[in-house]
């Protein structure tokens, strides 16, 4: 028997009962859809994350005061920003300093202790450049506004305060400040998203700010990051370098690349279950088919088919049935991925790995599901097969 004939003979049973074939491959189709969609969406999300990371850059380090041996909060020296800027390879440095004892509120009627999770930070004028951020409205602090009661709100802070446009007044300390700018979200500096930024001078003169930075942001060339990191603590605080915490905010994003969300796992699990159920459905259909087609099996044996021919025919039929389900699943799964990517503004990519995995899973399931029915068909003695009709 020729291989091309095996293909033709193995689809004859399916062509004979198309409705049943379609119903029995639905489970496989659902399972493969789930697999392709989950793998594809997670690949698209990762591609989105990679694009985000490369646009944000991985060359920023932050310096913050740590805790001393006794657990007490330490401070960075006032001159630490200037010292960091002198490290070889550093391109830009900026800093914020926490303004203690003050909260920002919509009106003076609100309890001062009710901070809403919004910090008041004194910010240097070069902060936005170093962070690579931008404003969605108004403008960032400038030499003109940093001495006056003007405030720029991070994205989260603005929405929590309910401030949607510049010119609004917020109550900060014991007086009204005018909102002059609203920031776009800063994925590498979420603490700034949740802050109200005021000028360094006005914080010192009006809000009792000590002038000690609480976070220094530093950017260097990519290849200089490791070298800068080595000397950063000692430069920022030469007397107590052990009290300095240095970190790389992009590490958090990079770490996300490696983690698969619990949802992905859940859906992959559901896909596997659907595939299993689909496989059982296919096995069932094949068993019924073998019972119904005993006459055909007997006839084929009388035409010279060996047991192996019969086994191969039913195995191939099962594999073809499942592969059809797999193809349907792949098409629907890709449609889901593309729809998701378009809706989320992610790069549209065809998840080839997922397609390959889905088809392989479908065919594998089909072969596994066909083993038992095909074995039964092959073991059937021709006499029994012919007598059954």
């Amino acid at each position: 028997m020729r291989v091309s004939d095996l293909g033709r003979e193995s689809t004859s049973g399916l062509r004979g009962r198309p409705a049943r074939a379609v119903l029995s491959l639905l489970g496989i189709a659902v399972g493969v859809t789930a697999m392709v969609a989950v793998l594809g969406i997670s690949a698209a999300s990762q591609a989105g994350l990679i694009a985000q990371i490369s646009s944000l850059g991985t060359n920023m380090l932050t310096v913050a005061p740590g805790r001393d041996l006794f657990g007490g909060q330490t401070e960075l020296p006032v001159e630490s920003v200037a010292m960091v800027s002198r490290i070889e390879g550093v391109r830009s440095v900026s800093a914020v300093g926490a303004v203690g004892g003050h909260s920002v509120r919509r009106t003076d009627k609100i309890d001062p202790d009710d901070t809403n999770g919004i910090a008041v930070l004194a910010a240097r004028l070069d902060l936005l450049d170093t962070l690579g951020g931008s404003v969605t409205a108004g403008s960032y602090l400038s030499p003109a506004t940093e001495r006056y009661p003007a405030v720029v709100l991070g994205a989260v802070a603005a929405s929590r305060l309910g401030v949607g446009s510049v010119g609004d007044q917020v109550y900060l300390g014991e007086r009204w400040f005018t909102v002059v700018g609203l920031l776009a979200p800063l994925p590498l500096a979420p603490e700034v998203d949740r802050a109200a930024l005021v000028g360094w001078p006005v914080a010192q003169t009006d809000l009792g700010f000590s002038g000690h930075p609480t976070t220094i942001y530093e950017r260097s060339a990519d290849e200089a990051v490791a070298g800068v990191r080595q000397v950063l603590a000692a430069t920022a605080n030469p007397e107590n370098p052990q009290n300095v915490a240095v970190s790389r905010p992009s590490d958090a994003l990079t770490a996300q690349l490696a983690t698969r969300s619990a949802f992905d796992q859940l859906f992959l699990g559901l896909g596997a279950v659907a595939l299993l159920v689909g496989g059982i459905g296919v096995a069932n259909t094949m068993i019924i088919s073998v019972l119904e087609r005993r006459g055909e099996i007997g006839m084929r044996r009388s035409l010279g088919a060996t047991r192996r021919h019969i086994r191969a025919q039913f195995l191939a039929e099962s594999a073809v049935l499942s592969a059809l389900g797999g193809v349907i699943g792949v098409v629907v799964g890709i449609a889901v991925c593309v729809g998701y990517s378009l809706a989320r503004g992610l790069p549209v990519t065809l998840p080839w790995t997922a397609v390959g995995a889905g088809l392989a899973a479908a065919v594998g399931t089909g072969i596994a599901a066909g083993l038992y029915p095909a074995g039964r068909a092959a073991r059937l003695s021709p006499t029994e097969a012919l007598a059954a009709v």
């Binding site: 004939d5 004859s12 004979g16 006839m299 035409l303 010279g304 088919a305 021709p382 006499t383």
Partner: protein
Amino acid sequence: MTEMITASQVGKVYRGGVPALTDVSLTVRKGELVAIVGPSGSGKSTLLHLMGTLDTPTSGTVRVLGLDLSEVSDGTLSAMRAHWIGFVFQQFFLGATLSAVDNVAQGLVYQGVPRGRRRRRAAEVLDRVGLGHRLDHRPARMSGGERQRVAIARALVADPAIVLADEPTGNLDSASGAVVLDLLHQLNREGTTIVVITHDTDVADRLPRRVRIRDGAVVADSAAVSGGAG
């Protein structure tokens, strides 16, 4: 004359202990046209299956074209059926989704003949059984007699030395049955050895040799009575 099929003291007990044949000895020679007659359940089909290598006996030996069936593998038995033996059954066993040509061409699938050659050969044989005008018809669009002629064409397409027919006219009206029998006679004249099971005595009476079976044993053989029609 050459012995095509030799059954010696053959017994067959099916799983479950049903004795279908007890001590059957029978020789079919080249060019014979043999009728096997007997009541339902007497073991006719069982005997035909043994003669056609579809099954092996539980006692005694069956030789087909000189080969002892108990000594060869499933692959060899299958190859014997593919090349030397053609079967015709009462139920036709045609593929419902296949045209007449494709049904007949199936008789060459397990010989590994390429599809184009199979179909050309199938068309020739269909022409020979008088169905040259029905090549592309599916079984559902044909009469019972036409279907059985398609089945006969399928049995003939590999040019077998032996044709075994199990009640080929059982599902046919008498006119269609007569056409089918004429076909078998003609085939026999052209040299094919043929064994036909029938429980229709009119049919049996038209055949040169009659073997009568009852309860799994041969009770009469016209060849033996007349002293060797073979």
